[in-house]
């Protein structure tokens, strides 16, 4: 029996043209959920300030997703630079990562908040829209199959999917959609949480998830982990440091 082949595996094939369609749907769905959520629960900042935050997040996400995407394929980047094909590489498929988008967007928001003097935590309104947007986008990644760099390792599990090469693979995109449904459920509970906690739950959960799930993806490793996993660990480290600093500030404020 061929490695990773199961008789009952679901045949999906590789249809890369669906990817941009689902990517567009993902942006639209995320924005629709954001509008619905903002209308339902209000906002801690004014609409113009919110648009400042969204613009910074969009630009940061664009830059971050591409930078990490290129870092992920760094040997190709070096080669393209040497052979003067860098522009061709910039336009090549893939090379955009959700983790880079999240980290870049987060950095962009923190920068604009510092510049404009916004002191409130603004991320809670983004937690559920991000869950929905990423989940919709992952459907496109699954259908794109082997053309997208997000497919799983071979497996003989009964729910393995065939992406067109006759090999049963972990449907890692489906695992991620299920995980995002769980995170979406958690961040929409009416628990009394501090401002910004829902976004922190989302980002910490997603980054930790990616560290774990990327072990099921056939990616080149650097020091035992792939580039995305290293980026996730860096993001988790920054989040942990910020949370500890906040905790320290709150303790000092309570003591005073």
């Amino acid at each position: 029996m061929r490695r990773g082949y199961t008789a009952a595996m679901l045949r999906i094939g590789s249809h890369p043209f669906w990817h941009p369609i689902f990517e567009t749907l993902a942006y639209a769905a995320g924005y629709a959920v954001y509008r619905w959520l903002r209308g339902r629960q209000g906002d801690v900042i004014t609409e113009p300030a919110r648009w400042n935050v969204i613009a910074a997040a969009a630009v940061g996400a664009l830059v971050g997703s591409r930078v990490l995407g290129l870092a992920e394929q760094w040997p190709a980047v070096v080669s393209a630079w040497r052979t003067a094909h860098f522009l061709q590489l910039l336009m090549a498929p893939g090379g955009k990562t959700i983790v880079g988008g999240l980290l870049g967007g987060w950095l962009g928001v923190e920068a604009i908040k510092r510049v404009t003097g916004i002191r409130q935590r603004t991320g809670d309104l983004f937690a559920l829209p991000l869950c929905v947007g990423i989940a919709v986008g992952r459907v496109g990644c699954l259908i794109a199959g082997l053309a997208d760099d997000t497919y799983g390792k071979p497996t003989t599990l009964p729910w393995a999917v065939d992406l067109g090469d006759g090999v049963g693979r972990h449907p890692v995109q489906v695992y991620e959609i299920l995980f995002l449904a769980l995170v979406g459920f958690v961040v929409t509970r009416k628990w009394e949480l501090p401002e910004g906690a829902r976004f922190r739950i989302f980002i910490a959960g997603y980054l930790a998830w990616r560290v774990a799930i990327d072990f099921l993806k056939p990616q080149p490793l650097v020091g035992g982990l792939n580039v995305i996993q290293w980026a996730c660990l860096a993001g988790l480290g920054i989040l942990g440091a910020w949370s500890l600093a906040d905790l320290g500030r709150e303790k000092i404020a309570a003591a005073v």
């Binding site: 890369p16 043209f17 990817h19 941009p20 990517e23 567009t24 942006y27 339902r40 629960q41 209000g42 906002d43 801690v44 900042i45 004014t46 609409e47 113009p48 300030a49 919110r50 648009w51 400042n52 969204i54 613009a55 910074a56 997040a57 969009a58 630009v59 996400a61 664009l62 997703s65 591409r66 336009m91 090549a92 498929p93 893939g94 090379g95 955009k96 604009i112 510049v115 404009t116 003097g117 916004i118 002191r119 409130q120 053309a147 009416k190």
Partner: protein, 98 residues
Amino acid sequence: MPRLFENINFPKTIAILASVFGIALGLCGLTWMASTASSGGPAQFLIGLGIVELIAMAVSAMGLVVMLILWILSSLLGGFGSGNDPQKLFDGSDDEKK
């Protein structure tokens, strides 16, 4: 010039342009990949599609850069506005919950 700035929602425009650029980048890359993988008739069609995507990508990228520069200029002239005043913290459903 400052009055012109007042009539443009820079952040909203930038967010839309960034999304268009991101999608066009993905589309363009996939079309390029498909056209290099196929030969003959379909490749001709894909090249036409690729040109449209390239234009969308170039226009959105240029628009993004121009809007970013104008946004910074307008903020230097008029300020970003901190937006520290809450718009609406909680609605009625939260009161009901309590």
